[in-house]
Structures are given as structure tokens and as C-alpha cells.
């Protein structure tokens, strides 16, 4: 079978590791692309893969099947547009687009062209969060009312020079970089929130953008969630994302390593989950892919993308553009709420529950 020709665009922090993983894939012939710079310089002298310095030139000259885009977020919308115009399958790093109207437009374009269009929200490929999703869908803890979504890590620990990651206009900041992940998981579990309130985008060390995020999200037919994110927390060795859920039949907790469930009563169809605590670890929730670099989730998402594109599928298996658009929209609601102080979105429709009149000793 002929190999899938994939262009990896952007050789920065994420791009380099995407490039290494795609390049090692047995079904892929890889082309790389980045502007001039030290890395391009060193690599072009030392590896066989051709490296283009210009994106348009690569698109024009190479008969590509797909692109992996890992450039600063501001460039996602124009680069994805150009790739879709050429009829290429697209894997784009998160966050998808800074203006969710672009996200929506590109979702429609990809759907219309039957292309595999995926965004790099790798937490949906972490075994423990997949297990959490499976348990939620199986109704393991009944009606979920109470959600806490958190992410902490050591990115900005002192005032420092500006890069695109610390420039809000470029798509930097704790909301886009960190909070996007737990929000994307909440979107996966519950869809887009109906109402966002109490949002705070705070600065700790950065001047141009936020270092910490709080928000309250409400689903009219679902739970209320609190989001707590901070990327100026040195006590964490690296980014740590965790979700806790409480429902009428128990509690679920997941992070990258494990999924803990407490069930008040066993639920039909969930084998191995008895009354009380059940803990599943990465070791048993993980499957190996062709190559491991930083975690199965990174390999897993690229493998799914490559296989779907290779097999001519008309959409992504997971993390399609539509789902990333939901997350972009959720972040836009948080920004609006934080800026205006007004709740964003529709409140619960239908008659509110009247407060019971109570006498002095009334029950």
C-alpha cells in the first residue's frame, strides 16, 4: 500500500514531538515545515526528511494527503483553511481557533468535503479519562450534580520575556493553554454549557495574559461545574489535570494515572464495579501503539488520525472539529463573562421552583 503523505507544520514544543511520532509511523511518509531558525537549520543538515521553510510552497509542491498543524494558535485558522481548500485531512493542535466563528466555519467545510478533521485534545486518549467517560455514559453514578475540573502546573513561575504562549492575542495564556483541557473533557462528558458565571482570569506573573482561571459552568439538563486552573504552581512537576464528579449513586475521580469509582449500588452492565471503591490504573487501561514518546495519549490520537486518513474515512474517530468548536465556544463564554461580569448564556428555562413558604417552625 502506498504510504500516507503527511506534512508536519511547526517544529516548536508540540510540533517536534508530533513530527517524531508521525515520522516513526510505518504507514507515513513525512514532510516537515517551519520558518527559518536554529532547529530547522540543525535538522535539515541531519535528517532525511525534507523541510520546507514556507507553508504555501509545501502545499503547492508536495502531493500531500494530510497535514499536522502545530503552529502558534493565531495561525491555526488560516493554515487549516488553506489545507482544507487543497482537500487535505487535517490534525490541528489545540486550542482550535481563537474566534469560534472560524472554528464553526472550518467544521462545516471539513464536513462538506468529507475529510478527517481532528484537534489535539490528547486527554480524551488518556485511559483513565476514557474509563471515566465510559462510566458516565453507563450511568455508573446516577444523576451527576456536582463537578470539579482542575489543572495545575509550573509554566509561568516568574515575570519573564514575552513569547506567543504568554501573549493573549496570539492564543497564549492559562485559559487557552491549560484550562482548555479540563473544559474539553467537560464538553465530552456533558456537551457545551448553557450558562457561564463567576469567571475570573487572573494574572500572577504575566503581564499580557492570564495565569489562573476560575469559572462556574451550568448545564440546564445536567450538573454545575467549577473550574479551577493555575499554571503558576511549582508544586506540580508537570501539568496535572483532574476531574471529580459526584452523583446520586456515588463518586468518580480521574487523573492521568488512575480512575477511582465509588458506587453506592452496583450498576447493570458494568462488570468489575462492585458496591464501594474500584480503582483502575493506567497499566490496565492502556494499549501500546507503534511508538511511544511522551505518553500513549499522544501516540494514540495521531495513530487514529493517520489510520482514519489512510482508510479514507469521512470524519475523525474522536476530537473532531465540531467537538473542539464546542470548547472554543466555552472559552469565549468564559472570556466574555470575565470581562463584563455578566453571566453568559441562557438560564434554566421553565418555571423556577417557588420557594416554600415556611412558618417559624415550619417543615
Amino acid at each position: 500500500m502506498e504510504k500516507l503523505k503527511v506534512g508536519v507544520v511547526g517544529l516548536g514544543k508540540m510540533g517536534l514531538s508530533h513530527f517524531a511520532m508521525v515520522n516513526a509511523h510505518p504507514d507515513v511518509k513525512t514532510i516537515a515545515c517551519d520558518g527559518a531558525g536554529f532547529m530547522v537549520d540543525v535538522l535539515s543538515k541531519n535528517i532525511d526528511t525534507p523541510i520546507y521553510r514556507d507553508y504555501d510552497e509545501m502545499l503547492a509542491k508536495e502531493p500531500l494527503d494530510a497535514v499536522v498543524i502545530a503552529t502558534p494558535s493565531r495561525l491555526h485558522a488560516p493554515m487549516v483553511t488553506a489545507a482544507l481548500d487543497k482537500g487535505l485531512h487535517v490534525f490541528c493542535e489545540k486550542p482550535f481557533c481563537l474566534d469560534w466563528a472560524d472554528s464553526q466555519r472550518l467544521t462545516d467545510a471539513a464536513t462538506q468535503k468529507n475529510l478527517v478533521a481532528q484537534v489535539g485534545y490528547h486527554y480524551r486518549y488518556v485511559g483513565a479519562f476514557r474509563e471515566m467517560k465510559r462510566l458516565i455514559d453507563a450511568g455508573a453514578i446516577g444523576r451527576i450534580t456536582h463537578v470539579l475540573a482542575e489543572a495545575y502546573g509550573p509554566v509561568v513561575l516568574r515575570p519573564k520575556r514575552t513569547t506567543w504562549r504568554t501573549d493573549k492575542a496570539e492564543g497564549g495564556g492559562c485559559l487557552y493553554d491549560y484550562a482548555a483541557h479540563p473544559l474539553n473533557l467537560l464538553n465530552w462528558f456533558f456537551g457545551a454549557p448553557d450558562r457561564v458565571m463567576g469567571s475570573h482570569l487572573g494574572q500572577v506573573f504575566s503581564e499580557g495574559t492570564d495565569d489562573e482561571v476560575f469559572s462556574t459552568l451550568r448545564w440546564n439538563e445536567g450538573p454545575t461545574a467549577q473550574l479551577s486552573v493555575n499554571w503558576s504552581d511549582e508544586s506540580h512537576r508537570k501539568m496535572s489535570t483532574k476531574i471529580s464528579l459526584i452523583g446520586t449513586n456515588g463518586r468518580l475521580y480521574a487523573d492521568r494515572q488512575e480512575c477511582q469509582a465509588y458506587l453506592r449500588k452496583p450498576v447493570d452492565g458494568l462488570e468489575g464495579y462492585d458496591e464501594g471503591w474500584t480503582v483502575k490504573y493506567t497499566t490496565e487501561l492502556t494499549e501500546d501503539r507503534w511508538f511511544y514518546l511522551r505518553g500513549e495519549e499522544y501516540s494514540g490520537q495521531l495513530d487514529d488520525f493517520i489510520c482514519a486518513a489512510r482508510d479514507g474515512k469521512a470524519q475523525a474517530l474522536e476530537n473532531g472539529f465540531a467537538s473542539a468548536t464546542e470548547t472554543d465556544r466555552t472559552m469565549a463564554m468564559i472570556i466574555e463573562n470575565a470581562e463584563t461580569g455578566n453571566a453568559v448564556g441562557e438560564a434554566r428555562t421553565g418555571a423556577p421552583q417557588p420557594a416554600k413558604k415556611r412558618g417559624w417552625f415550619g417543615r
Binding site: 515520522n23 519573564k160 512537576r237 494515572q257 488512575e258 490504573y281 511511544y292
Partner: protein
């Protein structure tokens, strides 16, 4: 190499099972003395090799070992470089070139080359790599370091990109300058072995996950077993317990029957676990030579 090597993940809050446990360990090993106490238990149990990251805190350990040459006469380090976080942080702070410049001798030719706008010549790139290696080795001067590893994130990044010439530079430099055996940690052993052979590196020492349940043996369980049986690799097995998923006795017994595995590296924080693993390795793999 000894049959049993002592690892250091447990000292630095790395635990593949639980973030809670990882944090508890980070708290427990906050003080260097706490690390030293565990190392002493291992050393007194006859485990002489400490396979460790070139973490800043390891410099403290090296200092203590050097300070008592009688007590630690047989103590040896297998450094694993680089300590990636140090570089990742520097890159975030100073950019790629700025970070490299930070690590170069300030008045040297390489620092000058990095300041220039001209593309770096190949031999300048090689020179930078060698300076970085020497810097990582600095903390071990005056100790025994017969084997030096390159960390899996780096090995595998270079492997994936096809930049295996960098591994060759590492290999040559560790032999020539440091008189030690170069070695490789990877999560993709069969693929790495092929790539190293293409670089002319024969029978390399490779440390990778090797366990009965195939946990994180990327490239496939069978490909690992084939590589081991072929005699082309001197393997060091890590994650032999698959983070606790396999009972200790069963795990070590299984490993002991594999050809090509010269050593096992394990991490533990309690005397019980250290003595337990040592006893099992003695039982199934014989005394170290």
C-alpha cells in the same frame, strides 16, 4: 553490569500508578538525607549501582559519596542524561538558542557561534552536544561512572525524527572523553536497536520496559523477545513489575529466563521492598559477578 541496579524515580515524585503516591514520595524525599538513608539500605544489601537522572539533587548525593570513600568504596553511578526539565524550562524562558547560549562557556567559540546570524556548521553542532554532555557529567567527577545513559525522552525524540547521528555523537564522546560505556533508555527498543546498528553501534546497552504483561513495550512484545533472543542487545529491564501489576516473584522469575537481559533496574523506598527484590534476583539470577 551488576544484575540489580537501583533507580531513582521514587525520589523525585515520579509514580506511574498514582499522583497521590508521587506527591507523598516527593514530600518524604524532600531532604537529601532521606534519599541517602534509602541508598544506604540498598548499598548495605549489596546493591552497588545507582542509576540516576542528572537532577540537581543528585549532585548532593555524589558529594556525599565522594566525601566517604571508605564507606562507599564500591558505590557507582550510572548517570542518565539529560535532566530534561532543566532544558525545557530554559527554553521556555530564553528560547531555543538563548537556552543553549546559557549553557555554553561564556567566552568560548560556541557561544560566539550561537550569537551570530550565520547557520551553524555541523562541527559546531557536534561541539555544542559535547559541551552539554560534559556539563551533565560534571557532578560525577571523582566518582565511578562506568556506564552513562541517555534518557528515553531524548533517545526517542531523536529516534523518531531520524536524527540518530546525535546518538552516534553521544556514543563516541562517552567512550572517548569519559572512558565509559554509552547506553540508551528507550520506550521503543526494537526500533532503536535497528537504528543504532545503522549508525554502526553494535550490541548496545539498552534499558527499556520488559515485563510479563507487555506494559509499555512499544513496538510489540514479540519484537522485544526476538531482539533479546537475537543476542544483538545487552538489555537492562525496567518496569519489571509493571508498576505493581505483576507479583514480584513471578515478575523476576519470568525475566530471569529471558536471554539477553543482563540487569534489572528497580526503584523502592522501603527496606522490605529493597531486600525482597534483592533476594528474588539472587534466587533466580544468581549472585552478581
Amino acid at each position: 553490569m551488576d544484575k540489580l541496579l537501583f533507580g531513582d524515580n521514587q525520589f523525585f515524585g515520579i509514580n506511574h500508578m498514582s499522583e497521590e503516591k508521587a506527591r507523598a514520595q516527593a514530600m518524604r524525599f524532600q531532604k537529601t538525607q532521606a534519599i541517602m538513608d534509602v541508598l544506604d539500605v540498598a548499598y548495605d544489601a549489596g546493591i552497588n549501582t545507582f542509576m540516576c537522572t542528572t537532577h540537581d539533587r543528585i549532585a548532593e548525593i555524589a558529594k556525599r559519596v565522594k566525601a566517604d570513600p571508605v564507606r562507599y568504596a564500591d558505590f557507582q553511578f550510572y548517570p542518565c542524561m539529560p535532566y530534561a526539565h532543566k532544558y525545557a524550562n530554559a527554553v521556555t524562558e530564553h528560547g531555543m538558542v538563548g537556552a543553549l547560549r546559557e549553557f555554553m562557556p561564556k567566552d568560548g567559540l560556541l557561544a560566539t557561534a550561537l550569537t551570530g546570524t550565520k547557520a551553524l556548521a555541523t562541527k559546531e553542532v557536534d561541539g555544542i552536544a559535547k559541551v552539554l554532555i560534559d556539563m551533565e557529567m560534571k557532578m560525577f567527577e571523582g566518582t565511578k561512572t562506568p556506564v552513562v545513559f541517555i534518557q528515553n525522552v531524548f533517545t526517542d525524540l531523536l529516534l523518531g525524527m531520524g536524527f540518530t547521528r546525535a546518538l552516534r555523537i553521544f556514543d563516541d564522546h562517552i567512550r572517548e572523553k569519559w572512558g565509559a560505556e554509552p547506553a540508551y533508555i528507550t520506550m521503543n527498543m526494537p526500533m532503536l536497536l535497528d537504528a543504532l546498528e545503522k549508525e554502526g553501534i553494535e550490541r548496545p546497552i539498552i534499558c527499556s520496559n520488559i515485563n510479563k504483561i507487555g506494559f509499555r513495550m512499544s513496538g510489540g512484545f514479540d519484537a522485544y523477545l526476538d531482539a533479546l533472543k537475537s543476542g544483538r542487545v545487552r538489555a537492562v529491564a525496567m518496569s519489571v513489575y509493571a508498576s505493581g501489576a505483576i507479583p514480584a516473584d513471578e515478575a523476576i522469575h519470568w525475566i530471569s529466563e529471558l536471554p539477553g537481559v543482563e540487569s534489572i533496574v528497580f526503584g523502592a523506598s522501603s527496606a522490605g521492598n529493597i531486600h525482597g527484590t534483592k533476594a528474588l534476583v539472587d534466587k533466580y539470577m544468581g549472585q552478581p559477578a
